[in-house]
Symmetry: C2
């Protein structure tokens, strides 16, 4: 359902989601300076970004608060210190992983929170856990999305069952998540077809969260927009786990809705992202991520390769090809 003529027009249903703190936090253990977070918040407002994902609501039973920056936990006080009462058009989101979030305790009623949207992250195998979290979040008054991760490993039959279950919950948005960065635009188009069927049946929206292992995060996202996908996750300068995500600056250059503005994004990157790289924070396309993407594998081996400072790419290729 690509809409050729629409490169000049726009759909007002599109929602741009900045996932820099959350997906980017995975490469620096969420140790962002207050200055960084405040400037990012201001840049998002000026750029017309619709949602800013602040980080995770991670279980404090499972993760030691002293071993991570505060955006892994997103305590209400820490959020308020940045956004005050957030009297802006920018909505705030956190991610909650099935099995790694004490949501009954740690997610309070929306009326007592600065957060607007709970993003439930699940594998197809943990859908019942996701359903419970979705219902909890909706009951507390939040908007809710559900990110179905590692979709490139999911059989179409199972995906349909999952979407049919999720369709009956109060979730607002179904997400396509290419966790391994292994999908090509043609495959995105096919997966979007499946999602559209259930989105139409249950009156839900569709989102996409792409990874850049094959330098296709942006291409897959704009393919998806042409296939009826509205919610688009990106990060500033592609900052994110492994090969990173699509770059916010690419998307804001592409979107035709005049509410979006690329300039504050360029300013933010100029001020902060080069500095992060100089400090040794590493992310973005490299051969090891291409390989795990090609082979449709979780990037954990490639992340380890990066951490170890290895550059023996051909040796690594032999390792991952043999991994089964």
């Amino acid at each position: 359902m690509k809409e050729l003529k629409e490169l000049m027009e726009y759909r007002s249903d599109v929602r741009v989601v900045d996932a820099t703190l959350r997906d980017g936090g995975l490469v620096n253990d969420f140790y962002f300076t207050d200055d960084f977070v405040k400037d990012l918040y201001e840049a998002n407002i000026k750029a017309g970004v619709d949602y800013m994902e602040l980080g995770y609501k991670a279980s404090k039973e499972m993760f030691d608060e002293n071993k991570f920056g505060k955006w892994k936990f997103c305590n209400e006080d820490d959020i308020r210190a940045v956004v005050g009462d957030n009297a802006t058009d920018l909505k705030l989101a956190v991610m909650a992983d099935v099995g790694r979030c004490d949501y009954k305790k740690d997610i309070v009623n929306r009326s007592d929170s600065a957060i607007d949207l709970i993003r439930v992250a699940t594998y197809v195998s943990t859908i019942p856990g996701a359903v419970d979290m979705i219902e909890d979040a909706a009951k507390k008054g939040y908007e809710v999305s559900c990110n179905i991760m590692a979709i490139s490993n999911v059989q179409e039959g199972d995906l349909k069952v999952a979407l049919d279950i999720l369709g009956k919950t109060p979730v607002d948005v179904f997400y396509i998540v290419d966790s391994f960065g292994s999908l090509y635009p043609e495959q995105i188009a096919r997966i979007a077809d499946v999602y559209r069927e259930f989105a139409a049946k249950y009156n839900k929206k569709i989102g996409i969260h792409a990874h850049n292992n094959q330098q296709l995060a942006f291409a897959n996202t704009i393919e998806a927009v042409g296939d009826g996908v509205d919610w688009l996750d990106g990060t500033y300068a592609s900052m994110g786990r492994g090969a990173g995500n699509y770059a916010m600056e690419l998307l804001l250059g592409f979107l035709r809705n005049p509410k979006y503005n690329i300039f504050p994004v360029l300013q933010f990157i100029e001020k902060h992202m080069g500095k992060l790289r100089e400090q040794g924070v590493v992310w973005g396309y490299d051969l090891q991520y291409l390989m795990t993407g090609l082979l449709n594998q979780h990037p954990r081996t490639a992340i380890q390769f990066t951490k170890d400072g290895r550059t023996d790419y051909s040796e690594f290729y032999k390792e991952v090809v043999a991994m089964d």
Copy 2:
């Protein structure tokens, strides 16, 4: 005419063209070591690459041989020192620019040359010059392609006239060249439609040469393959002018024809490309190239920004937006 099912099959008409020395030479003035060129030649053979572009046939009247590496001129002796009699399946190509090549003198008969393919590079405005070069090359026995540069600035009506003129020449391949890296996959699909009309009429092949300003070089290339485009220019590790080209390692991972092999490409990159970067050779996606791509401008201002070591991206944005 995207062929969804074909992600599992392949078209034997596809031709992979390695443009590393030619487009990459634009960022290091063609100063490649003999070791680099020899290893690249061997890697291409092992990887199943179909054509290797060695460089330019640049006019020695216009360019001083002492100010550039030898691959700007591609003297027959220099080629022979690497390839001998090239008793392999890898074919050899050079580029000849309209107005910057003494082709009558510098391009000898194919029977006296190691070169198989002359790639004539032209703007739409210099098509008559291209026609003369195409006829000269064909008469001398070469395969001939014609690269129509800066296609994103060409009106469809003019493009049709150009293709109709070129169709009547002995040229074998029409190339789509996104010199500014400004096109989106949907636009590639539309342009490929126009090319296909004339390729069918005159029995020609179609090629694509993409740039990575918006991280779409690979995506645009695989879009084009789905639209009947067969000749695909890439470079190792994306090495090329400005934001570079699509990465050969991405394409060889994508293509399903078992004649192609990604491993020698990984080995070559591991051995040579990190070293080039350490020596200060700079190429690849960065914000300044995104901006000229978005604005559909020649990247020369962005290349200067890079050479000057500037990182004041937002200032640069103001400069290029105002440039008219």
